[in-house]
């Protein structure tokens, strides 16, 4: 897999005594000590992250953790004090810490676009002219521009609003304009600096969904800054959690949720709602590789269940208390003919099903849920796994 952005040992210090501050940093001084000694502010310290193409990487942390500072290095809005930051431009990787201003400008025009927390729309321009801004800078003519702008506005569902001014639109719509503006240049890398934080929760949720839908279509590389772990978990393929300028943990959402690296991360995780993030395969009891490809019977001792499989495919399930159980394949919705509890059924679901849906299934039957991948059994989810995941 090729990387779109590579951070290598990035330090960012704000202030005019860079060398001195870096020396203090190397001596292991904290941000406060550096500020006391030099009056400079440590923004980012020793960050190394690779962001593969087509991935959404969320930089996450409290305010002052350095997440925005790090993001803004990618397009040179902040300058890097030390380290190497390479950004993909076609087949080349451009090091933004050393490139000249023309190269940086071209990178900003063609390869990296940005979406801002406060939208950053120009109030004297119409929606249409805001979206076309990047193209205009690059010298594209007005007629050609209009076509692209219309297309991008249609993408975010605002094609009826092209001639309005930004302030005539609601917050959610303004940020859609911001998105369309970032899409307009067809830059493959998107920097999003807390784009949804200024919006109310309902709109925020909707825009997150829209972003995920658009990402399916457009397949950008997105660096997304957020202070909300639920948002990070929902959007991110990977999450880098930052504290005091350092990345304290970088991993998949499940890594973060299930194996927090330190107390700071655990604190975040404790305050998030796991049901929308955790997937069955992260919390299930895995069957062994042999069992997955075998034919015969897999026993789950503590639930008193025996699963008959044929080359990994679930054939029948037998419960010691009830006898043979009725198999129900879960396809995203619960069958309507079941109401209340019915312990004579057992659900079989894909193992990427969300914990939220697993809870729905468990509300109907006490029996473990059987999880499959590509048609073959991959694990089971009994009482024990459930409670472990929720605590």
């Amino acid at each position: 897999m090729t990387n779109a952005v590579e951070f290598e040992n990035i330090d960012v210090i704000f202030g005019d005594r860079q060398a001195e501050s870096l020396r203090l940093l190397d001596q292991g001084r904290t941000r406060e000590q550096i500020a006391d000694a030099t009056n400079n502010v440590l923004g980012v310290a020793n960050v190394s992250i690779d962001v593969p193409e087509g991935e959404i990487c969320v930089l996450m942390g409290l305010s002052g953790s350095g997440k925005s500072s790090l993001l803004r290095c990618v397009n040179g809005l902040n300058s890097v004090s030390r380290g190497s930051l390479r950004v993909r431009a076609g087949n080349d990787m451009i090091d933004v810490t050393t490139c000249d201003s023309t190269t940086l400008r071209n990178l900003r025009r063609k390869n990296v676009a940005m979406v801002f927390q406060q939208f950053g729309l120009f109030p004297w321009r119409t929606v249409e002219d805001n979206v076309g801004f990047g193209l205009e800078l690059d010298g594209m003519g007005p007629t050609e521009r209009r076509d692209v702008v219309r297309e991008k506005l249609a993408l975010v569902g605002l094609d009826q609003w092209a001639h309005k001014y930004a302030h005539e639109l609601s917050g959610g719509m303004q940020q859609r304009v911001g998105l369309a503006r970032a899409f307009a240049t067809d830059a493959p890398i998107l920097l999003m600096d807390e784009p949804f934080s200024a919006l109310d929760p309902l709109i925020r949720n909707r825009l997150q969904d829209e972003l995920l839908d658009l990402q399916e279509k457009l397949n950008k590389t997105i660096l997304f800054v957020s202070h909300d772990l639920d948002e990070a978990m929902k959007l991110g393929n990977s999450i880098a959690i930052m504290e005091g300028g350092y990345v304290v943990q970088h991993g998949t959402p499940e890594d973060i949720a299930l194996r927090p690296a330190n107390g700071y991360v655990a604190d975040f995780v404790a305050h998030m709602n796991p049901v929308n993030i955790l997937r069955g395969r992260a919390i299930m009891h895995r069957v062994t590789k042999d069992q997955r490809n075998s034919s015969g019977i897999i026993a789950i001792e503590d639930e008193g269940m025996r699963i008959t499989v044929d080359n990994g495919t679930v054939q029948a399930v037998h419960s010691a208390e009830i006898g043979d159980l009725k198999l129900i394949a879960y396809d995203g919705t619960l069958p309507t003919d079941l109401d209340g509890t019915d312990n004579s059924v057992v659900f079989v679901a894909q193992d990427d099903v969300l914990l939220k849906d697993l809870i729905d299934m468990r509300s109907i039957t006490q029996n473990p849920v059987i999880l499959t991948r590509e048609g073959k059994i991959s694990g089971t989810l009994g009482r024990k796994e459930f409670f472990d995941s929720l605590t």
Binding site: L77, L107, M114, F116, P123, W124, F133, L137, D138
Partner: protein, 282 residues
């Protein structure tokens, strides 16, 4: 205390001899400037007077309608200008209009670039501030004398004095507008790849435009407030009848000419003023 007053610093003499030497050695420069400016302004005045008064009034009416879409303003403009014609001050009004137009033009042409430059270079603004303060606070008569000596009697020393007096407003307001460009907008501009020039023309200047326009209206008002002073050094216009009225204690004439100045001021102010409903940043 005597030691303090014993030897007077020849401050006034320095300025005076500087003026004298300028006048002796560089008078051709000032006369050339004076001739060119006088030629331009007088021709403009002649042109304005050649046009029928009603046509000019109609022009103002159209301008008011197009810019503001308010029939009240249009009606006010037409009626008040007709009043000036009726009072018999049309010629003087056109002379004043030409003077104010060129004074404001020079102020903006010099002031806006200076305001932009000083907003980008804090040291320049620091250096300019005392000069701007000086130009705004020093009594007008003080520099009226040297401009009179350098440029001779007539409309040009009036114009120069007016520019000196009024130019601080557009400089300060342009500086204010440019330096108050929201950081978020500057970053948006940069992040999409603005060159410094594009940043100025596509982000900073549009963002500062309300402030710059306020500078223009202020400049016009300040220029109008100078017409009586300009008349003292021989500039034609509405100032002249006021000065004459003062000399002959003519209440009627003074009031009428003064009213004409006020009318011109209000009309220009209302037409140039932009409604600030449209472009409020975030």
């Amino acid at each position: 205390m005597e030691w303090l007053t014993e030897t007077k610093l020849p401050l006034g003499q320095w300025i005076s001899s500087l003026m004298n030497s300028l006048n002796e050695h560089a008078d051709f420069v000032f006369y050339a400037i004076s001739d060119v400016l006088e030629f331009i302004i007088e021709n403009t005045t002649d042109f304005l007077l050649w046009l029928p008064a009603l046509l000019i009034i109609a022009g103002f009416a159209v301008l008011a309608t197009v810019l503001h879409r308010s029939w009240k303003l249009t009606a006010f403009t037409v009626l008040s200008l007709l009043l000036i014609v009726n009072l018999g001050y049309w010629e003087e009004t056109m002379q004043t209009l030409a003077l104010v137009f060129y004074a404001s033009l020079f102020c903006m042409v010099i002031g806006v670039p200076l305001g932009v430059a000083s907003a980008h270079r804090p040291w320049l603004y620091q250096a300019m501030r005392p000069v701007l303060d000086l130009m705004q606070t020093i009594p007008t008569f003080v520099y009226l004398i040297p401009t009179l000596i350098l440029f001779g009697l007539g409309v040009v020393p009036g114009l120069i004095s007016t520019v000196i007096f009024a130019i601080a407003a557009p400089i300060r307001l342009t500086h204010l507008g440019i330096s108050n460009t929201p950081k978020a907008l500057l970053e948006a501009g940069e992040s999409f790849g603005c060159t410094p020039r594009q940043l100025l023309f596509k982000v900073e200047l549009p963002s500062a435009m309300p402030s710059i326009m306020a500078g223009l209206t202020q400049c016009i008002m300040l220029s109008l407030s100078m017409v009586v002073i300009a008349a003292l050094v021989g500039a034609d216009g509405l100032g002249k009848p006021v000065v004459r009225a003062l000399n002959s204690v003519n209440i009627a004439q003074g009031f009428e000419a003064g009213l004409a100045i006020v009318i011109l001021a209000i009309v220009l102010d209302r037409i140039c003023r932009r409604e600030n409903s449209q472009t409020t940043g975030q």
